[in-house]
Amino acid sequence: MKLFRSARKETAPIVLGGARRAELRDHQRELHNFQMRLASSAGLVLLFFFLLLLRFVYLQVLQHDYYHTLAENNRISIVPIIPNRGLILDRNGAVLAHNYAAYTLEITPNKAGDLETLINELAQVVDVSPKDRKRFRKLQEEGHDFTSLPIRTRLNDEEVARFAANKYRFPGIDIRARLFRHYTNGEVASHVIGYIGRLTQSDLDRLEDEGVAANYTGSDFIGKVGLEGRYERDLHGTTGFEEVETDAGGRAVRTLRSTLPVSGNNLLLSIDARLQDVAERVFGEHRGALVAIEPSTGGILALVSKPGFDPNLFVDGIDPQNWEALNNSPDHPLNNRALQGMYPPGSTFKPFMALAGLELGKRAASHTIYDPGYFVLGGAGGHRYRDWKTGGHGMVDMHKSIVISCDTYYYGLAQELGIDNIHQFISQFGFGKRTGIDIDGEVAGLLPSQEWKLKRFKQKWFAGDTISVGIGQGYNLATPLQLAEGVSVLANNGVVFRPHLVRHIQNSQTNALTSIEVEPVGTVSLKPENLALVRDAMVDVTRPGGTAGAAGAGALYRIAGKTGTAQVIAMKQTEKYDEKKVLERHRDHALFIAYAPADAPTIALAILVENGGHGGSTAAPIARKVLDFYLLGKDPEIKPINDEDQDEHD
């Protein structure tokens, strides 16, 4: 040992004797020290490896399941495959709503950086209109930063190619093939079909509550109103899923499993698109509503609410400008007047009143009154209720009361019946309650009763209240749909069907049709002779001498109809209504209900023209054109109906 050391350390002095022993001892102790240090190092090594082992056992044995799940989640991502939305077809198979594929440019805001600059740069490559920008900003305000929002939709091939070549310049902008909804006929039947719109947070919350949110993974759109809204579940279909193994960059490596989407079911409507189109055309620039029903089924043939709107505007997010225009228009084009507009039924109420009088035994058909031009409540000196015709109609029986629309007759009849009888009997025709049509937003209208007034106003019913109800005024309010339903029940000899728009739901896989129930929901018990009497009177309404005589002139079939005029503003006792002096918006609403052919009706309809003046002059001619088209296939010239002054009156 010493040799070894001294050979290396020439400079070390060689110490002899005791000193050398001391050095050896010293060296011995030093070596021992070193070995102790080495041993403690070895201990440290073992300790650390033991700790590592504990960590491995913790990760790989105790926590294995947890990390296994994480690893699976890491590699497997579920990619939703959005189903094709069901089509909407009319009763003849004409397509009203369908889908087409188109390319969109979508921005994911949180990946994009400065949006303003990015969009400006994008505008150099593809056309980006101010409308597109506004719509994008609106979507951005509503939505989330991590969803991709369209900046441009429906790119043409050239734009697609140009963007693809420049894609590297636009981080956060992607080109996507998307299915778009298209409403073939634009504004026609817009209130029936409704529209789809982008899925919002509140939609998602609702879907969550209904427990179907999972089916909307990846979906951007949802039906908002009309049939698109009501039949959302049928139309949407079932979202498919692809389990894809992805790498860390999110690129799909391979598909592990996939479940194909199931397309939404098709809606086959009772609507006749051509009839609908004709009805909208003949409505012209008027505001109002028209509902035509097939009496034997309750199927709705046409449902018009004017003005309408183009539902295509909503499909990829409506731009603020169009939205403002629709939402702030004094004409309220987004309101579905057929379901939501409440109007006094006016004289169209009279046939129902007449039936009530007959059925409840309060009036015989032959009973005749003298009409001096007014009705006095409570004996001489009482309140006078004026007939529309100054001087009156003279001797009036029930038939004549309908044909010439005598008010005085119905004032008296209403008094005799009493409000609760009126309410009970006439509600059987669907007044004062929702008809149950298969789109949302319907209002109940109002068929007053003593109970209602007590509840609503905490006031008892006055005898005077009943009188104006008799001519469809007063508290009386009905929707055009209710009027159509009422006249349809009349046409159907009292058998009540629920009015509906969808006839069949067609399974997208099997093409099997599921029919919407056409069982009657009730029957108004009416004696045939009473029905015949009212029908004959209604037929005479559309013949010379009737209030709609001009409109019915020359018809090749018999029309049973009744005109109506609804007051918009109340007149003082002494005042005389003069159309020319009244603001357009305060003019009377024109109404007309009808069914035809009178002896075997295939169509029943109700028309309301807002501020149209008289039912006979404004509403009935529209009905005539609709009936001519439906029954005879006669296409009316596009010329809108004008308000020529006819001397017919209500």
Binding site: R5, V45, L59
Partner: protein
């Protein structure tokens, strides 16, 4: 003839050490094949690295220890000069100034200091063996700290740590009193805030991330989380070779270099880990055995420092991958892809062999 050639080649080679190293390198190649997405070319490149490193190991094994003693100071001085040169006009790569361009190639002087620092310290302690005083230790500490700070400033925390560890092991084995050691540890803890203040943001982030990796799952916590998922999902027997989803679908970052252990552990599980740990323990154990039997203070200190630095490599890497140590860029010796670390590790192993085999020769 052939047997004589083998005898010549094997004269200074320690068979036990070589066998364990060889086994580890084979494991490394197998894992590398999987980690690189079954790339033969990368495996071939690593085999070339191994060949070079083995030659260097053989050469180191054939250098008698007293030559090393003479080389110690020059190596340290040259290393220091180069480190300063790097700091002044080094080449920047990946945000760190680590490389020095020398003619046709570029070198990383910090790697040289992994050997240079323990050599110089061992030389110093050996020279003043009989009369070691506290001031010798202070001087030794300064000799360690200057290169460590220079490397840490590059910044290369991993290498700085390993140089510091190597220096510390020499000082520790040379017999720095426990009292001072404990004092130093306390002082070190006291200096933590100071250390914190000089650390780069990304280094601080790594420490914070260690405490709670989920704080920043896509940023600095990503490595730790994905590695933990790889290990944990591997389970007891692993997912099987080439079947690691974390590795093959790119979730694991740096999976052929610093995080190769995660790939191994995902595919071979706890069972594989035990085998790997056993191999590493065997190498470390053999190193400690050689240290124990070394004949001079210099060789003892060098052998001990090499062995314990090797252990530090393994511990820091496995600790980092399994999430009990912060993420510092330290490869797993003999397994990770890359020539530099392989050469410096095998060079160290060569010195160990030299110390072991030359002692025998001198004795007989």
């Amino acid at each position: 003839m052939i047997s004589r050639l083998f005898a010549f080649l094997g004269r200074h080679v320690d068979t036990y050490l070589l066998a364990a190293i060889g086994a580890l390198m084979v494991v490394g190649l197998i894992t590398l094949y999987s980690a690189t997405g079954e790339s033969f070319s990368r495996v071939a490149a690593q085999m070339a690295n191994i060949a070079v490193a083995l030659v260097i190991m053989w050469m180191a094994a054939n250098i008698p220890p007293h030559y090393l003693l003479r080389l110690a100071l020059p190596v340290y001085v040259v290393g220091m000069i180069m480190l300063i040169a790097v700091a002044l006009f080094g080449e920047v790569s990946n945000g760190a100034r680590r490389w020095l361009h020398v003619g046709v190639t570029r070198i990383q002087p910090s790697e040289l200091m992994k050997v240079g620092v323990p050599l110089a310290l061992a030389w110093y302690f050996d020279r003043y063996e009989a009369i070691l005083k506290l001031r010798d230790f202070v001087l030794a500490a300064v000799m360690v700290l200057i290169p460590v700070l220079l490397v840490a400033k590059q910044p290369d925390l991993g290498t700085a740590l390993l140089i510091a560890a190597a220096g510390f092991f020499v000082i520790f084995l040379a017999g720095l009193s426990w009292k001072v050691l404990v004092g130093l540890v306390l002082a070190g803890v006291g200096c933590l805030p100071l250390l914190w203040s000089v650390m780069h943001d990304y280094q601080r982030q790594r420490v914070l991330t260690l405490i709670d990796p989920t704080q920043d799952p896509l940023g600095s916590g990503y490595h730790t989380i994905q590695a933990a998922i790889a290990l944990g999902s591997g389970g007891v027997f692993g997912k099987g070779w080439l079947n690691g989803t974390q590795a093959h679908l790119d979730f694991l970052p740096e999976r052929s270099t610093d995080f190769i252990f995660a790939v191994f552990s995902e595919e071979f599980g706890l069972f594989g880990n035990l085998i790997l740990m056993t191999l590493f323990l065997f190498v470390i154990g053999r190193g400690l055995f050689i240290t124990f039997n070394a004949s001079t203070l210099f060789t003892r200190l060098i052998a001990g420092a090499i062995t314990l630095t090797f252990f530090t490599y393994v511990a820091v890497n496995m600790g980092m991958v399994s999430g009990i140590l912060p993420v510092v860029g330290v490869p797993l010796p003999l397994i990770s892809y890359g020539g530099t670390s392989l050469v410096s590790v095998l060079f160290g192993m060569g010195i160990l062999m030299s110390i072991h085999t030359h002692k025998r020769l001198v004795k007989t």
